[in-house]
Symmetry: C2
Subunit: 263 residues, 2 copies
C-alpha cells in the first residue's frame, strides 16, 4: 500500500461528512459510526462488523496498515496530519478513525433468554451513556433500549467510554416510550425504574427474573412517558443524596449479575 | 454588604495564590482548598469547616451573599467578572469559589469501628478519584488512605466529582506505601487488592470483617509498593476485560455495604 494517495483538503466530500457526524455526535448519512483511536479500530475489526473505510493521518499510516493487515473490504484513506486534526473530535488525536456499520438489532435480540434489559430514558452525558453500555456487556445485559431524548450512542465520547462494547451489545435507539412500555408489558418483563429514594432497595429486589432497569436523565430523572412503568428502585446509601448516573447504573447491573450468578 | 469593594486586578496576592492552587490542583500555601460552584459552597458551609474566604464574581454577588447569610467568620471578596474568569478552573464558571480548610484526620478516624478503608494507590484521574470519595461516603467507608503518586484530593475536578463528600470523609493523603502496609497489618485488617482478573471473585469474598480495598492506577494497576499486600480481588464479568476505575471501585464498595447490611 506504499502507493497511497494522501488527501490534503478537508473539503473532500467523505471527510466533510465525517466531520459533520463527529460534530453532531451521530451516524454519517450513510449510517456509519465514526470510531476514533487505535483501540476502537481494533475493536471494530475484531467485531466482524462492516468497516468500509479507515482514515489515517499520514504520520501513523504504517501502524494503521499493520493493524488492518490483510483484511478484505477495508479501504485505507490517508490524509495529511493537519487535515486529520481538522476533522477529529479529540484534541489529543491518535490519528486514526474507522467508519463502522453498526449491526441492526430487533426486540428479538434484546429480549432473548432470561432478559436483562437496560432502558435509557433521557441520559444526556455521553460518557455516562457509554459507561452504561460497558457495564451492560460486563454484567450480561441482553440488550439496551434508548428512548427518544437520550444522547446518541454514536457520539464519539459515548463510543470511547463504551470501549468497544457498542459494537457488541444489542442497542436499539430513538424509541418511543409508549412503544417500549407496550413491548415490556407484552413480554411480561419486571420493570424497575431507578430513583434516588423511595420504592424498594436494590439489594432487596429480586432481579433474577426477566427484568428491565430504567435509567432516567442526570438532571430530571425518569421521564413523564416512563413514569409509573414499573416499581421504583433505589440504591440504599449512608446519607449521600445521589450517585453519579454511570456509577448507579453500573451498580444496578452488578447486583442483577450477582443475584443471577448465585441464585 | 452593599458597600463591597470590587477587586479588578488578578494580581491581588490572594487571587494569585488561588489561581496557582487551581492550576496545580492542590491546596493553597495556607492549606486551604478551593471549592468552586454554588453547590460546593453550600456543602462547605453545611460541613461546618472553616471557610475564611468566599470569592464571588460581581454579577453573582447577591445570590452568594444570600447563601452565606449571617454566618460568622466568612469574608466575601467580590471580583470583577473578567478577573473571576481569569482565576477560575472551569470554562463555564458559575462565579463563586469558597476557600475551605479541610479537617486533619488521623488513623484513629480512618480505622474506627468495623473499618472499611479505601486505599488509593496511584489513581491518576481526578474525576475517578472524586467518584471514589463519593462512593466511599455512600457505602459507609470509614476512611481513605491516598498514597504518594495519587492525584491530589484537592484538585478542582476531584472535589467536584466528590460532590462535597471530600468535606466529610476522613481522607489522609501523601502516604508512604510501607507505612500504610504496617498500619494495616498492625490493625489486623483484611487487605484486598483490586485486579482485573485472578484471585477471589468479589461476590465470593467476605467483606463483613474489618477490611481495606486497594485501588491501583488506571494504567498500571497496583504499585510495586503495595504488591502482595493482600488478597487479589476481581469483579467477575461476562468477557469484558476492564471496567472504568471509578465504576469498579464503586461496585467494590457497594458489595461491602450490601454484605454488611444483610449479614
Amino acid at each position: 500500500m506504499s502507493r497511497a494517495i494522501v488527501i490534503t483538503s478537508a473539503r473532500n466530500p467523505l471527510l466533510k461528512e465525517v466531520r459533520r457526524a463527529l460534530a453532531k455526535g451521530t451516524l454519517t448519512e450513510d449510517g456509519l459510526c465514526v470510531a476514533e483511536t487505535f483501540h476502537l479500530l481494533e475493536e471494530a475489526l475484531k467485531s466482524g462488523l462492516e468497516t468500509p473505510v479507515v482514515i489515517a493521518a499520514e504520520s501513523v499510516r504504517e501502524p494503521v496498515e499493520r493493524q488492518i493487515g490483510s483484511l478484505q473490504g477495508v479501504r485505507l484513506l490517508t490524509v495529511a496530519d493537519a487535515v486529520y486534526q481538522e476533522i477529529s473530535a479529540t484534541e489529543a488525536a491518535q490519528g486514526v478513525m474507522a467508519l463502522v456499520r453498526p449491526q441492526r438489532w430487533s426486540f428479538e435480540h434484546v429480549f432473548r433468554g432470561r432478559s436483562l434489559v437496560v432502558v435509557l430514558d433521557g441520559v444526556q452525558d455521553p460518557g455516562n451513556a457509554g459507561t452504561m453500555v460497558r457495564a451492560s456487556e460486563a454484567f450480561g445485559a441482553t440488550g439496551m433500549l434508548w428512548l427518544k431524548g437520550t444522547v446518541s450512542p454514536w457520539n464519539a465520547k459515548a463510543l470511547r467510554a463504551s470501549a468497544g462494547s457498542l459494537f457488541r451489545v444489542p442497542v436499539m435507539e430513538g424509541l418511543d416510550a409508549g412503544m417500549v412500555r407496550a413491548a415490556l408489558k407484552q413480554r411480561r418483563v419486571d420493570v424497575y425504574t431507578a430513583v434516588p429514594r423511595g420504592g424498594v432497595a436494590l439489594h432487596e429486589a429480586d432481579l433474577t427474573r426477566r427484568c428491565a432497569l430504567v435509567i432516567g436523565s442526570e438532571g430530571r430523572g425518569i421521564s413523564h412517558g416512563m413514569n409509573g412503568a414499573g416499581v421504583d428502585l433505589h440504591i440504599a446509601t449512608s446519607g449521600v443524596e445521589s450517585l453519579n448516573a454511570g456509577l448507579a447504573a453500573g451498580i444496578l447491573l452488578y447486583e442483577a449479575w450477582r443475584q443471577r450468578a448465585t441464585a
